[in-house]
Structures are given as C-alpha cells and as structure tokens.
Symmetry: C3
C-alpha cells in the first residue's frame, strides 16, 4: 500500500521545493504525481522545450526519497497552441466553440491536436522515459471531464463518417442498422450523415448510440497514441489514466484495456452528491443527503460503487490517483472535513481494492480555478489536519499492507455494460428509468448485507461467481446469450431483470418475441410491459413471502415456455420465472424492485444457490456501517456520527463515529 | 362510424403485407392510412419516382377490402433534398438550423421547399388521384409538431416583411399599429424589421403577435398549394389534415377552413399530461395527475376539450386520424394500457362527434424514434390486447353507427380565438394567467354537469346557442362587438369575463374606457384591475348565494352605465353586471372564477336563461363519469377504477370501471 | 421635497399636452422628466434634427409652471442607426447579437456608438443647455438594465485587452496577477486574451473579476463623455442618472462619482420580489412573500436597503426618478395597488433621504412593451387612485419639507464594495453564500431595531460612525487595512465577518495566514473554515448568553494572537474575537449569523460601545412597522394590513394599516 500526493512545483518558488519534499517524506509519503498540467511550462513556445525546471523538481523529490509519477500535460494546451491552431478546439452540442482559459478545450479527433500531443509526449518520454526516478506515467487527465466526452466539430463529423464506413461498409448496411426507412431518413451519401446535435429534435437512437460509441473510441485511439510512445520510450514504467468513478460518457472498459492498471479520482463529498440525484431509487427525495451519514463523509455506498466499477475495469487492484483530504471547491456545499475522515476514506479505498492512495493536493493553489480546493497544507504552507491524518496512516502502514495483500474476492457479480447504459439513457421510456440507478438498487442492497460484489463486463471471467446479476441486459445477441448460458450451465445462478433483451446491437427492437436472443435462456416470453406512474402499485403473489409486496415503476408480463413461475400479478400474469440451465438456473424478475425487494430476493437466491456461498450475508449490519471481509481480516467502517455495533463474526463489536476497526480472525 | 389503422408497408417485407391486410380485415377495419412519411421511398433520387412498391401495397390492402388514405410525405424531406438545398432548413428562435435526422426540418416559406413539395404532391396525385382504391388524402402531418410552427430563417424574415407590407401598406401604418413611437422603435425601412427572436429582450407584443399570425399564415398558404393540386387531380376524394387537439401555435381555424373535414391525433396518456400543466386552475398542483382517474386513461376532460375544439374547427363531425391503442413513447411515464381502455377512448371520441377512428399504429416500428410506441400488434407481429379490443368494437359497429348518426348538439358555446390566446400569452401580466386555462375553468364545470358545449370561433353561426361564454374576449373591435350584440339581441345569453376588450386588433390598449369596443354591450366600464398574489382573497357579496365565495387571482372593478350590479366587493366595487341587450342579455364577470364559482354561475345562468334549456344539467354526476346525451341515447363513460353510479334519466345506473354504457330512452 | 412625474409627450396628440400639463399642475407636481427614449423623434434621419415638437412640449409644460428634466435618449438608438452601423450592437454571453426592437441593444465600447451618442447629446445640449425651463439632465436610462451590463462583442474584447495593458503593463504582470501558471493558462500574446464567456467551462476568477471591472469602467467612461458635453453646454443644471437600487452588475459608486446627485427607480412590488430570492437568509423559503406585509406594498426592508445603498453612493440626499404609483408590468404577479400605498411609498423614500419623488408615469402607454404598466391616469386619460394620492401628498407638502430638511444621520455604517461582491459571486464556494445576502442579515436586524444605517464604501468618511460592519471584507490589502485601523484607533467599533481578507486585489488567495492583510487588525489567524450543509449545526459557547445558539452555514476557526476570545465551539476552537485597536476595537465573528444572532450581536456591540450611541435601539418594534428618527420627528410606517402599536418615544402609538404617522418631539 503506497501513499502519495499530487504536487505542482511550477506553482511555487524553487526555494520552497526542498522544504515541501522534506515535509512529504516526513509525513511518510512514497510517491508524488507531477507535471500533468504544465505544458506551457515545458514548451513555452512552439518547439522550444524548457525541461530544466522539471529536471530540478524531479531531483529535489527524488533526493528526498520520493518516487515520481509524470502526467502527460495534454489536457491543457498552451495559449499559443490554440491561437495558432484554432482547428483543435472542441465544439459543444449547441455549436459553440470552447475557448482557452480552462482545460480540456481540444478535440481528440483533430489531426493537428493529435500531432501536437504526440510531439510533447515524445519529447517528455525521450527525456524522462528511462529516468530511474520516474516510476510511472499518467496519460492526460480525466478524459471527458467538464462535459468534454463528446465533440461536435467538423473534424469529428468527418471522423464519425469514417468510423461508420469502417463499421458498416456500405450505406445500405448503415441504413438497415439504423432503420432509416423510418421518417425518410435514408442516407444516399456519406456526407449527409451528422452526429445528432441539439439542432435535431428527437434524434434516431441508433444513430445517437453510434455517435456515443464513436466519441468513446476517439478517446481510446487518442490515448493509444500516447501509450505507444511511452511503451517504446519508457520501458518498465507503469502507464495509467485517472478515471472518474461512475462517469458515464466514455466506455471505461475500452479505455482501461491497454493500461497497466487503472486509477481514479475519489472526492467523497463531491462525486456522490452529483450521483445521488441519479442513483437514489424512486420515492427518495433526490436533493437531500441521506441523514444517516456524517455530513463530511459523503455517501459511502455510492463511493463504494465507484470503487467497485474501477476495480472491475481490469478486474484487479487499482490506485486512487487523487484522494480528497480536505474540503473541495466544486461541490454544492463543500463541507469542511474533520479529523478522522481522511483516514476513513483511505481505509475505505483499501478495503475496496486500492493498492495506492495519492492525495490531492499537497498545497492549495493560490491561483485561478481551484483556490478553494484544500490540500495537506494550508495556503500559507502550514500543515492541516489532513497532513496529521496522513502521517498517522503512514505510521500504521504495516497493518494496511497486510490487509492489502489479501485478495478482494466476491461471489456475486453485477454485469456492467456501457452500450446498455447508453441505450436506456437514450430511450428511458419512463421518467427516471436509468441503467445505473437500476444497478444501484442491487448494489446498495448487497452493501447493506456486507456482501462483496464485482462490477464486471460480460467479457470477464464469469466462472468465479456463484450469482450473476444483470438488472437490464438490454442489448442482446446470440454471442452474449451463449456466454450467459455457458456460465449458468456450469452451475451459476443468473438473475436477469426488466428490459433485458429488448435491443439489438444497433439499438433496434428485435422482430422476434422478447427478450429476443435471451428467450431460450429465460425460458419465457415477455408479452407486454407496463410503466406505472408514481404511486400506482400492482399486487403480486410470490412463492417467497418476503417478496409479496406490490410491484411499482415497471412490470413485464411473462409467458413461461420452459421456466416455472415464482410470482404472478393479482390478474394472473407471471412476473418472476426460474429456468433450469444445465447445472445452474436463470431467473427473470419481471419488475423493477424496491431496495427491500432486492434485499429479499438476494437473500432468497443466496439461500437457494446451487453452489453454497462461503461468506454469509450480514443482515443485522446497521445503516452507515460498512463491513469488508478480506481473508482473515474483517474491516468495519463507520460513516456516521454515532457509535455503531455489529457482530460480523459472532460477538458484538462497537465502532466509534467515523472510525475504522480491523478485526483479525 | 369507420374504423381504421395507420400502416407503414415500407417498414416490412412485402411477403408480410398480405398477412397484415388479412388480419386488419378480420379485425373489422375499414380504412388504412399509408405513405405519409415515405418520400425517400417514393423518390429515392431527385425526380426519379419508384411508385411500384406503393402500387403493390395499395393493391394488397384493396384486395383485402380496405380503403386507402394517402398522406403526402412532405413532413419528411429526404436526405438528398436537404443536402442539395440547405436553404430549405428551418431555424429556431435561438438561431440554430435544424438538420436532417428527424422530421419537420423544412421551412414552409422556402420557395425551394414549396416547389419541391408541389412536385412530389403533383406526382403522387397524378398517379393516385383517380385511383378508386384511394378514398382520401391527408396533407402533410401534424403541422407545427415538434415546436416547428415558427421559423426564424432569412427567408421567413423576408416573407414576414412582405406579409406586413400587404397588411399595412405603409411603414407609417405599421408604426402606428405597432406603437413604435415607444422606445424609438420607429421603422423607416422595411428591411429593418425582424421577427422578434431570442436576441431581443422583451419584444414589442404587437410585432410579436403579427409574427405569430404570419407564421400561421405561412402554413395555411403552404397547405393550400397541396390542396389546389389535389382538388384538381383527385376529384371527389376527401382532403384532411391531422391536427393536434389543443395545439396553440398555429391558427387551427384558418388551417381547417379549406379542408373537407378535420381530423386529429388523440393520445390520451400523452397530450393531457402535457396540457394539464397548463390547464389546471391555480392552487392545484400542476405536476400531479388528478387521482380520480384510472392511471391508464388520461385526463378525460382535457381529452374532451381537444375533441370539442376539433369539432368546432368546422362545426361538424371529425375524424380521429391517429388514435392511441396501447402505450406511447413520448410522454412522461407512458403507462401501460389495460383491456377496456382502447374501447373507452373510442366511444369517447364517438360521443364527442368523431365519425371515424383510425388507430395508430398497426405494428410498432423496430426502427428509429418510435420503437417504444406500441400498436395493435407486438413487435414480433403477434396480436396485442388492443387488437382484441378493436375486433370487439368492430363487432358492435351497429350500435356505434346508430349513436354516430345522431347529431351532436350543444346549447352552450364557448368562444375560442387564437389571436386572443396569443395576445394573452405574450402579456400574461400575472404568472399563470393563460387563455386556455381560463376557458378550461368553464369547460370542466360544464363537463362535470354533463352539459354539451361547442368551442367555436366568433365567425360561426352563434344563433344555435342559448348561452355563449367568452371568458376573455381580449381583442375587440366594432365588428366583433356587433356580432355579439346581434347574438344577444335575438335572445341569447352572453357571458364575458375579465380581460375582455383590453386590446385592439394590433395588440394595443384602446385609449377609450375599457372594455373598449365592448363597453356598450356590457353597459359598464372597467375602472381598475387587481392581480392578486396566491393566497390573497377579496370578499364578495352577490345576489346569488352560491357565488358568495371570495375572488382570487384577478379582479376588475366595474362602473355600471346601463347594467345592473349582481355582485360587488366588500369595499363596494361592482364586479358582476348584467346588461339587457334586445331580447337577451350580457353578463360581465369581473373576476377569474374558481371551478366551483364557474359551476354555480353556469347553473344560475341556465336557470335564469331567457330561452329555456332542453337538456337539464346533471349536478349529481360523480367525478370521473362523463355523460353524453345524443338524441335517444345517453352514453355514460367511467374513467375510474371504481364502479360509479349516476341517474341521468331518473333511475340510477351503475357503470363498471373503465366501461361504457349506452342507454336508450 | 419636490414631486414630479415622467411624461412622454411623443406618445400623445399635441392637443392633449395642455390638458395633461394642467392636470399635473393641479395635482401639485413640480417637475416633469421627458425625452429619454425619444431619439427617433429628435433625429428621425441621420443628422436631421426635429426639435420643434420638443420645443413645444417644453413650452406647454413650462407654461403650466412645471420644471423640465431632460433625459438623453441614448438607451434607444433608432432603427436607422443600428441598420447603418451593425457594429454598435451588443453580444450576449452566449454569443448572440442583440437586435433592434427593445432597448439597450448598443455597446458602450463601440467607437461608432460613442460618436453617435456624443453627437445627439451635443445637439440636445446646444439647443436646451441654457434653456431656463430645463433644470437638469438625466444621462441615458438605467445603465445595465435588461442584463446589458456585460457585452461580449469583438470591440469589447479589444477594449478589454487595452484596459488590461493599462492596468498591468506587461503580460508577465498579468500572468502573475491572474495566476495563469495554473492549467497552462499563461498568455504570451495580448490577442490570446478573451473575456470569459459561456464557451469557457469554469473560467479563471481573476480574469473574470477583471472582465467585470472592465465592463463597469466602460459604462463609467461612456457616461463621462455625456457629462463632459453637458457640463460645458448646460452650466448650472444638475446632472444625474437613474440607478436601479441593489443592482449588482456595475460599480454604482464609480458611476455616481461624477454626478451631482444620484436618483433611482423604485418599484416596491417589482424589485424586492426579485431580490428576495437572493436576500433572504438560509432556511426561509425564497419563493414566498413574507406573510407579514400587505400584498401590495412589497418587502419594505428590501426597499429600505436599496434606498440606503443609493443614499450611500454619494453619502447625500438622492432623488426617486421613477416611483411606482400603481401596478407594474414586469413582476411575477404585479398586484393591484390600493389607496394609501403610493403615499406610504413616498413617505418611505422621504424617510430614507430622498429629496424628490418623480412618479412613473403620467399615463400608461397604449403601445408596445409597457402597456400593462399603470400611471397616474388610466389608459383613457381618466384619473386613478394614484393621482388622488399624489394630490393629497402635495397638499401636505409643508410637513414633508420639514422632515426632509432634517439630515439623515446614522451611527452605524455597513461597508459595501462591488469588488468584494463580485469576487464572492464568482466563487461562492457554498451554495447560497452571497455577499448581498450576508449584508442583508445585518441590515434587516438593524431595521427591525429601528436603527438607521448607511451603506458606504471604504473610501467614505468613516469617522462619523460608532460602529462599522463589514460582513465580508473579502479583498484586502495594506491600504484597506490601514483605513480600518485608523477608523478603529480613533475609537470606532469595527465588526469583520467570515471570508474577510481571503483575497488579494487580483482575486488570488494570499500566501500568508488568513485573513491576510487584516490579520494584525483582527489579532487572530483563521486556521480553517467549515462550510456546513443545511441542517448541520455546530454548538457554541459565548460570553454573551443571547449568542449561545448554534452556528450554521459557515464557520471559521480562529487562533488568537493579540485578540481575546468571546466565543468558541464545543470542540474548543475560537470563533469570535475582540482585539483592541488604539481607542477602539475590532471584532471578528467567525460564523455566518442567523438574523437572531445578528440582532443579539448588534445589541451587545451597541451596549458595550466605547462611544455611547445617541439613538437607542427599539427592540419592541412590531414586524412590519418601520421607524425613522429624523431630528425632532419620528416617522412610523405600517406596511401591514393590521393596526400596529409601538412606543418609540415612551407612550404607545397605534398606526393604522398602510398608514404613516409623523410624531414630533
């Protein structure tokens, strides 16, 4: 378990550098990330590089015993660059060109920007690639941040057309895939095709899904150019990118694939506050914090889900590349952070599979956009409570390392797919129906039961799971169905939910009975679906008494073919089926569950699993206390201001407010 | 009473067509509307027509005994058209040009678009105008849908100036009509004039009203070109257009005038949900459905008002050209539709004066924007409950035909005027004051009393009404006043409400005492008006005890000249007057009534009518039950999930949930 | 005390003018403001002036004994002007060019517009500058109204760069002042610099603050050109501008400096309704009116604050140049105004230091944007209740004059600074933290105690105050600190609040301990700050029992150096300090107070003041009753619909609803 910090030597006089480095080292830090926004300092004029300051900064840090991570600075092109090459600027969905003065204002499809990015990265890599003091590289910074995932410039339109040509070959194939016979949309020249922007009322969802995919692929290709340079010039150094947790606009799995490991930027009082508007189930006021948690810790279940998705990107341990250690500047309230909280966050990351935690930032910037974003020091250079916390954590490094050395293992997998997410986002059909929110119903139920869960793509190794949940496996084809069938046939339990199998790969509805390619697996047809207004309930009768509460939100009627019925509506329509598949089984839940229903369902599925579970659920875990079981260790994290008591291993244990207990069996 | 369906043969393989036609016929359908979005299929390249597929589709349908209605496809210009002629694209109020990829992206004033529209319609008419299998034509589709009524392109600006030249002749006349002396707005060159867009802060309401009129006239002229072609080439075939109920951005009366009859597209779970935000009176939470109604039927009183306006467009029976028969895809929740509901909607349309009901659609599209919009079949081609409903309705055709053969007669007229609506929309003065909402206060009171009412323009034959209500006859002139005086003098009862007579035809305030041209008719002056904040009440004393509840929202003080006072405020200001006019009378109600006040007022006016009413009010009608009395028939429609009981003809009758009873006297 | 009215002779036939003038005179009016929107009437073609109508209008008014104020018409350039010179049009933050058809559509930095403005003002001044009937001039109209303070045209971008060159000299200085080292923002050519518009995501706050200053300076310079012309050609005539109360987008102090006196446009049912969304403290529903006040008077404390700021602009009496006298047209509800209310507003203005009250308007316009804005006459020319009120006020002129002759004196000053306001607006850090709202907490507490208070800039003469409050003296430097130290050293009491001293003049955080330049004065450091989410409380222990309620919203921990601690948190952090400064003292309140806390604090500070106060607080004043003590007079104004009783001078006095009592001691 490494600890580190983000540092901006270019912000401070050189005379301060050794003092800072010494303080870092004394605090027990191992690594320092630098340089990721310093393009103008490295190349103040076109082609004129000024590495000397960076050389000196690296030296000062290395001499204090710190390892250096370099960020490529391509998120912040200098003013001379965009002045000389205005064609690199991105254009938003409303047609406005983004200007210099912030960051991420360049477009990844721009050939000019690509060439200039390659040049700066090549120059950096040539100078530092084999520098022993530099242990790894971060590519760019937070791809897609500030709503920059999608660009609507003319270069992107051209590139989109080329991407479509590569995907479909002919216009005839594209017209078929997009169903352009509808509303005379048929294309007879490639130049007619646009990425749908805000000038189009209600765009074609097939076209829009492809435009989302294209934009994501553009970042994947842009990143790959930097990876290729670094692989060649910086052998043996790790390459990563700092992701943004539950960020939805780019396909994180695709971006993660070529990296050595992934990292993410974890701001518990910022991100969850934004995501909770999206995630909380119907009926919970989306604007208010859940009152259970302490006001300065953020919603820990949402943070957990972001950790879990990041862990799932490569199904291996990850880094926190930016870890909040005090108040931030971009949230709604930006509450002050109290003693204990940074420690709680660090242990939480570790519990979820992080193997390094790099705090953001060393000292707050006196300058520009992030003046109100705190660090481990104050503006005047004095230490904060955050620094004291880090020092204490570093002192307890052995215990952290012992826990980190045990693998994070989950018996339950939750399938995650960006195509499914986007397709439902484009056609929610019912206000509030959202892919991520649907997943979160299960995710929070599992966390409240203390059960570890992985968020994984369908292409992952599924055999490790005893239960696999796909709340909305929306896009289906024979290959996907076969993977799931193989999984189940080997004894796995599979749970599919509403809206599964509703779409083809090009976002059309299949012309066969729903759930299309998944029908044989499910052993039933979906004959009809009902979106229910808020407050409307549909009574159910289930074989499992704890599930005999009414259905709300969304109901699908099932007509069993090979499956048996586990629940039906008062009017007699089947809404829950179980189908035997080889040694395993496939459940289909024909309604959108409440959190309580999800909990009851999960307990039932675990209890009746063909393969018994190793870790028992912890149904008595109090709200606000998270439990992680890692090898011989049980971690209990209290995210409230009250002392909470749990009995994860028999005897009751009390956890003080905002504290962490590590029990060893 | 005809039944029909909308069909898109171009979406399906030809081998499927005979199966579909056979199923339609077996379900008892009479007519099929086709082709209205198929331009790219008819003319895949400029000037190259491919009628063969359409010939075959018409043959297949006709051979199954179905009559064909053809839609002109001008709402969906092909990609080659807009690529070759970008000058046809419309521009929105923010200056953005709409692109290919959806529909209604062309501008009706574009000479290029007009010429191309004439060409395709001429070609269609030449081929099918005298085809015996084609019984009628629909022009274009839903003029103005998707917020396309108003265009801000340069061609429209030019056309607007020409329209103004024709209307005003000289700039001096225009300057006077628009009151441009205010804020130095005076024009001294025609080219200076623009349609006010979002770049103008708080535009001149006279200029804006004229720009609304111009945009409406542009569609009238555009439609007329197609009508002229069809009249010449398709003799004896009916010509209609599918309107959108309470749609407000175009003058529906003007568009309706040259048509043989009007039709409209009725989506009870979609339209009312949008309109209820607008229509429900102050104090009712506008975001929530009235809990009385079943969740899948929509608000039946709002649907009724849309039927009534459509019936009033030409004061004769109309068609439903698109009738919802399952869930839709463009509403907020899009609730599922249960057995019984499509039948209820169909009888409701019939009760309101529809003489045909064409269901939308035969089979849901697997493609593009409307994949989640259901039809009479499922996506896989299997029948839905909707088809079963339609089959049962077709079987009961005789009873429907008998009711349809009786004329819809109303003793009460509600005046409707788009100029009045727009003028108040441009200057509501008080948050929430809306013309349509004001009318709806009376409309819902009448429906709750089981009283039929027509929505008619002032130019209609008014002599048929015993009571005529103009809640806000906002724009007044001598001609309008004379029509009303003539009506009243012959024994009619006229009720005028607040904001009547406030404006001249060019949207200025008259410089004479209010209500301006209506003053003599009213027999009183409006000396002062009060807009009251929410929660503020003004106590009243009225000669009619049931009206002694406080006034809210808006109050006008009256100074009687020839009228007598029927109510006054606690401070002694007259707020309700009655003026004798020949054999009749004119009431002026000086406040914005609550629904209960409107009900009490209506009962009072009917009771004291100079000419006795034939149909008594039904004050005991339970909420959610609509009653229609058509000749010997009384129709009772229950829009709730409870059995409701009423005694429209003496003895109590129970109507099951979502059911229709037809009583014969 | 003068009374007057705004009049638009160009709207009416000349035959009406003598009637109007006679009615004005009979109503007791003294002055008439005319011409401020009549450019098109004065110069209907370029360079062709038509003064004759204006000559006659002035004559008619003068002959009736009325004094004339002329407005320069530059807020409304004619259509020919913008058609011939489209480069004068302003561009909004979204890049849209504003068009003719409203007002304020020209940009003050445009050289063309400047030249044309100078030309029309020179011509007017040449004709009327020495006209004895014209007693004064109003420059333009409501600078910045309709969101026009800031323009984003290319000319403004150029002028901004020149302004920056003048301010910073070199790019190096600018880069340092803006901290452009952050995110590679460094500029190496002046042309790279833009005013941050909506195309930039999260701009640099130093850059944005300078762009706000530049826009304000542009209006100052624009105004100065007109002042220079009038000073030369209209000797002895007063020059003023009509401000907009609490308007925040321009630096009102800078605009006021070169004027003889300032005036403002007071619409009590309009402005406060907009401002209350901004001003009311956390926890009060911002959308609802405080139910205490009568519905047609507006929020009187907000109106008072606008009077006070206007009075503070030059620290001398001011005019109301437009005083609401009936309903307006631009508010949310625009409630009707009852008898008594215009009189109440007039006395309120007088009590706050107005020396003239000019009603808006004589007669409502039948034309264009303001048809629903009432006047002293009705649309048809008949008198309204407003006119009756004015006549009665004029008859009681002697009493008003006697009160007006006494100086408005305050023992408490509230510091107001537009740079501070803007800097916090650009980085509120916590939702709802607003400079003006923070001031209003104190302002309303003072008004509820009947204590007069001045809103003054730091550069004013501070020695007159016994207590000086700076809730957020955000930007600090040595000069500012020295002024405050001098004030306190001479015996003054100074209260500083949270976020004081957080910023430098170029909007950076100082790199020394907070509150930076104010640290010595405060005698303590701010070591940490906490923004608290809604509902989170921090318990305090204070030496003043009435202040022992919890802190909310925002807390700063203090580390005393020379100060003594008056309150600390339950965790032991100091949050209120008092530091002796010469003969006076400086308090630092380390949290954002509730209104009750502000009241308790004020009472404590007054009670313990080094220099005793002359006017005692009136702690028993009922809510809704405002008390002003001016020399021998005590004015009691009741803004409610109930009779209220107070004892400002011992014996209880009852004030009827919406009435004014003037007591003489």
């Amino acid at each position: 378990m490494k600890l580190g910090v983000c540092y901006y030597p270019e912000h401070w006089p050189e005379a301060r550098w050794p003092i800072d480095a010494q303080m870092m080292r004394e605090a027990g830090l191992d690594v320092v990330r630098i340089a990721e926004f310093a393009w103008a300092n490295m190349e103040p004029e076109p082609g004129h590089y000024t590495w000397e300051w960076l050389d000196r900064a690296i030296s000062v840090l290395a001499e204090a015993g710190l390892q250096v991570i370099l960020g490529t600075p391509t998120a912040t092109p200098p003013a001379w660059l965009t002045q000389a090459h205005p064609d690199v600027l991105r254009v938003d969905r409303n047609g406005r060109t983004r200007q210099h003065g912030s960051r991420r204002h360049a477009c990844p499809t721009s050939p000019t920007y690509r060439a200039l990015s390659r040049a700066i990265v090549s120059a950096m890599a040539a100078r530092y690639g084999q520098d022993a003091r530099v242990v790894g590289w971060q590519i760019d910074n937070e791809f897609g941040g500030g709503k920059t995932a999608r660009c609507y410039c003319d270069r992107c339109a051209d590139a989109f057309r080329r991407w479509l040509q590569a995907r479909y070959g002919t216009l005839a194939a594209l017209n078929a895939a997009w169903g352009t016979v509808f509303w005379s949309q048929t294309y007879d020249a490639w130049e007619q095709i646009q990425a749908p922007d805000d000038a189009i009322d209600k765009p074609n969802p097939s076209q829009e899904l492809d435009s989302f995919r294209f934009c994501s692929d553009a970042f994947v290709a842009y990143q790959q150019e930097q990876i290729d340079i670094l692989r060649a010039s910086a052998p043996g150094r790790f390459i990563t990118h700092n992701f943004m947790g539950l960020y939805r606009d780019l396909n994180q799995f695709d971006l993660a694939a070529p990296l050595d490991f992934v990292s993410w930027d974890n701001y518990p009082t910022g991100n969850p506050d934004r995501w909770r508007k999206l995630l909380y189930p119907f009926g919970v006021d989306p604007g208010r914090s859940d009152p259970v948690y302490a006001y300065d810790v953020g919603d820990p279940i949402i943070t957990s889900m972001a950790h879990a998705l990041t862990r799932g990107l490569k199904q291996r341990p990850f880094w926190i590349m930016e870890q909040q250690c005090g108040l931030i500047n971009w949230g709604d309230v930006n509450p002050g952070v109290r003693t204990g909280t940074p420690r709680l966050w660090t242990w939480h990351a570790l519990a979820e599979g992080a193997e390094a935690c790099v705090y953001f930032r060393w000292r707050p910037s006196p300058y520009a956009q992030e003046q109100y974003h705190s660090g481990l020091l104050r503006h005047d250079g004095a230490p904060t409570i955050g620094l004291a916390e880090v020092r204490a954590l570093a002192a307890a490094r052995a215990r952290m390392a012992a826990v980190a050395a045990t693998p994070f293992t989950a018996e339950i997998g939750l399938l995650f797919d960006f195509d499914d997410l986007w397709a439902i986002q484009l056609e929610p059909h019912r206000r509030g129906f959202d892919y991520l929110r649907h997943l979160f119903v299960y995710y929070q139920a599992l966390m409240r039961l203390g059960l570890p869960v992985d968020l994984v793509p369908l292409r992952a190794d599924l055999s490790r799971y005893k239960l696999l949940i796909a709340p909305s496996l929306h896009i289906a084809d024979d290959e996907r169905a076969a993977r799931l069938r193989d999984y189940a046939a080997q004894g796995g339990g599979l749970l599919l939910g509403v809206r599964s199998g509703f779409k083809t790969g090009s976002n059309l509805v299949p012309q066969e009975p729903l759930p299309g390619a998944l029908r044989e697996l499910v052993g039933a047809q979906v004959t009809h679906w009902q979106s229910l207004p808020d407050g409307v309930e549909m009574r159910l009768e289930s074989a499992v008494p704890s599930l005999n509460t009414p259905a709300t939100i969304w109901v699908e009627y099932l007509q069993p073919e090979t499956a048996r019925v586990l629940a039906h509506t008062a009017s007699g329509h089947a809404v829950w089926t179980e189908n035997g598949v080889g040694n395993g089984r496939c459940h289909f839940l024909g309604w959108y569950p409440t959190p309580d229903q999800a909990r009851a369902l999960l307990l039932h599925l675990i209890e009746t699993s063909a393969v018994p579970f190793d870790l028992p659920p912890l149904p008595d875990l109090p709200h606000g206390l998270l439990a992680y079981r890692r090898g011989p260790y049980t971690l209990l994290l209290n995210f409230t201001d009250q002392t909470l008591t749990a009995s994860p291993a028999g005897a009751p244990v009390s956890v003080p407010p905002r504290d962490v207990l590590v029990l060893t069996s």
